[in-house]
Symmetry: C3
């Protein structure tokens, strides 16, 4: 089963299919202010260059869509057919694909990684001038670096610390005693509720809520009472947190994401969860309270992990699976049943309700058979 | 299996059950400024009218709850029993139900559709005067139609275009190079991150995030590096996007919703997904990167579609199913197993772990049996 | 199967594990302005005290982490081993654990409940002075109690009512004709769209959207038309609503949460759902339109309930289960299959597609066997 929502790279499509209402929307974005020669790129990233080293590039594109001043890449052999027809100026590829390349090329051991690094040169982020927008509301007891950029309508509470070069887009709320590390970027409308510490170069997308109360309840005879949530959230350097993802503060100790944890959109991380470094989770995954996920794990889309479990390092959980017991060994784990046409599925699903009985009947038959 | 969260119409309940804290909350809302006579409605919508054509209506309600100045409807035969006791002024129904109707009636081929059109007359939206609220922050390079309404605390970036009659409720953020088409309505707190184009008459509910970065990562020996997300999102005319739904921008090309796509709340649409016209998705559904969904599809609640798959037109996926392969034929598809009382379920679920072994044992028995 | 995301209490970990970047983040939070003696706590909560009744406490902590001026608790026998080594000043525990306690103790019938009540004394909420922040936008026709606190950038519409002592953190949007009951707290960035009534002492976390349109569509030959959503949402006293949770307004009648309903993060409640008092739902659960959930139910994480179903009182649904039929009897219900190592799982899952055929073959063998 393919990993759901994990690293789903762009599938190149023809430019024609990209026209919509007669406008090519991406075009203007892909043209950056700076251009780079093939030779410059080869040297900067330690790649071997083939073809005219003087060719200048001003953007990136798909094999099918890129023009002569754009760079493309081939990392999945499924798209080799598109290589021969490409109009890109340069293609990043493996040595074995060089013969099929009709244009200039950069040879890389891992073309996907090399492309990612090159493409970053052409990314154009919204302007974020240092300083505090006049519409922002900053508490007297907050500490904001002079090199930080605080966007319109941001609200920053007492005891908050905003580090050097940090960028807060519009409508971010930084609660009391929260820290945003240097060079971190909160794209827009991010809420850090209280006692949240973000490391350096953390990227948080709109709608994320970090540090809200964990779901802690005690049942008192005939009604619920709330367990005060007093811990915080600590997010390590280089983490990325997706749109509308929620990460609760710990009940007593903190909820922790180690460095380079990558969370997609709409993920739910409950109180006191601990996520090891370099673990990635795809959209709509959820981890229940006090679970401990190892390093270099990959959690598929809409997968779930029950509370208090532990997952070893390098565990992969496929999409929509539910982890109901701790996992001690690296490897890939799954639950669920395959998709079928509904009428067929109904018959099988109905049988599932009596599976135990069928197995007993099977065993009885075997016993009969052995006795004969 | 009924479709989860899809078109779950209101189940009429008695007014008594609707009282809460002694207040009938809906009442004031249902009374609109204008009233319509039965004759006017019949003519406007091409329906046949029965009973006193001069009766005037000022609102709509359920069969059980509507009063003499309100219109109700019967489209599901399950509720026929409620027809005979209704106190509504007028009921929209099929010809075959006319005999059981104790009050005036409008006969329609599809009463649900007819009711929807009539009810729209009585909807009262919050006031949205043209102009820009003084608390809004609009970049010098943004282009806002004089007939558009920009609510409190909205932030509009450089290069953004807000079309004629568009309504932005409070706290909307329109990033750089985003376009909101004419007559579109962003209810409140909608974020368009960058390079998003909404068509005409698009309706977006609070908390939706459109155009945030897709989840694109490359693994570089021992850590992740981010693939810059450079594409946009194009949303066709007449789409509706639910509360807290997220739609990521494409990696290179755009993420696309064709016209009249209807997304419920908390849906996750990954980068470079393409959704065909008139497709509807129920709450909490998720589509992974570069998947291509056809036209007139219906995706049930919390269903998932893995990356790079293609679904033909008119495919229905039932609730909580996971689509793991492309679907070429229209029809209904499902996965999952039925709900059972936990003790019973545990027995069956435990057996599932050895299903392959049981089938081998079954085959062995069959072989024995044939050999006898 | 353990209940997913439900009441996942904190799992004590050593302080050492809590250090991150050399800082003990929680420490400052746990120290409150006031201190309490053991004797005071015993009297206030009707507990029996053992040891030095004069000891003064200024905070709470885990068995492993609490220091001599902090109170801890033991309610789960799994952590009994940590009791003997604790450095806490006082431990709340059951009588049978008293002998193992090396420090002062408070004996309680239910230590978890007792601890919850004591810990509330040490919770420190952000300052919320009565009055309206100058950056807030309040309609002339809104009614705000003089004792309410309205935070920065809040927007309050016509006809809205904010009760005594209610606290609206930054960026809350209160739409027209919404009511926030006395002593309710909207932490930050909460949106009540229209016609929403919150009872007293309701707690709503950031990003929640209450009262957005239900997903009501009618198919008109070749396209969708929207059913106007005209009802409201009524939330009873003492409810708690998690971060980024969405609750839609009813189509005609209201969506209703009775008192003391507890919703975790990212839950989706569709239009006209009715949830009985004291029911708790864990993160990412979803309930489709017009479903009626009983009182004292517990719905596990990412579980789903299809539309128009009814669940009796005291029904528990385990994590990720899908409820496809009404449930008349209290008890625990489940669906799904267990997690396995992927290679093993694939074999079993493939067999599931032919389960009906296998059962037929089993029956045929049995028939043969009986005929012999």
């Amino acid at each position: 089963m393919p990993r759901f929502l994990l690293c789903a790279g762009p599938k190149p499509r023809r430019w024609a299919a990209c026209r919509y209402n007669g406008r090519r929307v991406t075009e203007s974005i892909l043209s950056a202010n700076s251009t780079y020669s093939l030779a410059e790129l080869a040297e900067r990233f330690g790649l071997t260059c083939h073809g005219n080293a003087e060719i200048r590039l001003d953007g990136v594109g798909t094999l099918a869509g890129a023009g002569p001043s754009q760079l493309s890449f081939l990392s999945n052999s499924k798209y080799t057919a598109q290589l021969t027809g490409t109009r890109a100026g340069v293609v990043v590829l493996r040595a074995e694909d060089l013969a099929d390349c009709p244009v200039a090329a950069l040879v890389a051991h891992d073309p996907y990684v090399a492309y990612a690094k090159i493409a970053a040169l052409f990314e154009r982020l919204p302007a974020a001038p240092p300083g505090i927008h006049p519409s922002a509301v900053v508490a007297a007891g907050a500490q904001v670096s002079a090199s930080a950029s605080i966007g319109p309508c941001c609200v920053i509470g007492d005891g908050a610390v905003i580090g050097d070069g940090a960028i807060l887009g519009p409508h971010c709320i930084i609660g009391e005693h929260c820290t945003v590390g240097a060079q971190s970027r909160l794209v827009a409308r991010v809420t850090l509720v209280t006692n949240v510490t973000l490391g350096k170069r953390v990227l948080v997308h709109p709608g994320a809520v970090i540090g809200s109360d964990g779901f802690g309840l005690a049942f008192d005879r005939d009604h619920w009472i709330k367990l005060p949530q007093l811990g915080g959230v600590r997010v390590g350097d280089d983490c990325e947190i997706g749109a509308n993802t929620t990460i609760d503060r710990g009940a007593l100790d903190d909820t922790v994401l180690e460095e380079d944890v990558r969370l997609d959109n709409q993920i739910q991380i409950a109180h006191n969860v601990h996520i090891g470094a370099h673990t990635a989770m795809a959209g709509c995954a959820a981890v229940a309270g006090s679970a401990k996920i190892g390093r270099y794990c990959m959690i598929g889309g809409n997968a779930g992990v029950l509370g208090h479990l532990e997952l070893a390092d390098r565990v992969t959980i496929t999409a929509k699976s539910l982890v109901t017991h701790s996992i001690r060994e690296p490897g890939e784990y799954s639950s669920g049943v395959p998709l079928q046409e509904n009428r067929q599925w109904r018959k099988n699903a109905a049988r599932f309700k009596h599976l135990d009985e069928y197995v007993r009947r099977l065993s009885a038959l075997e016993k009969d058979s052995n006795n004969e």
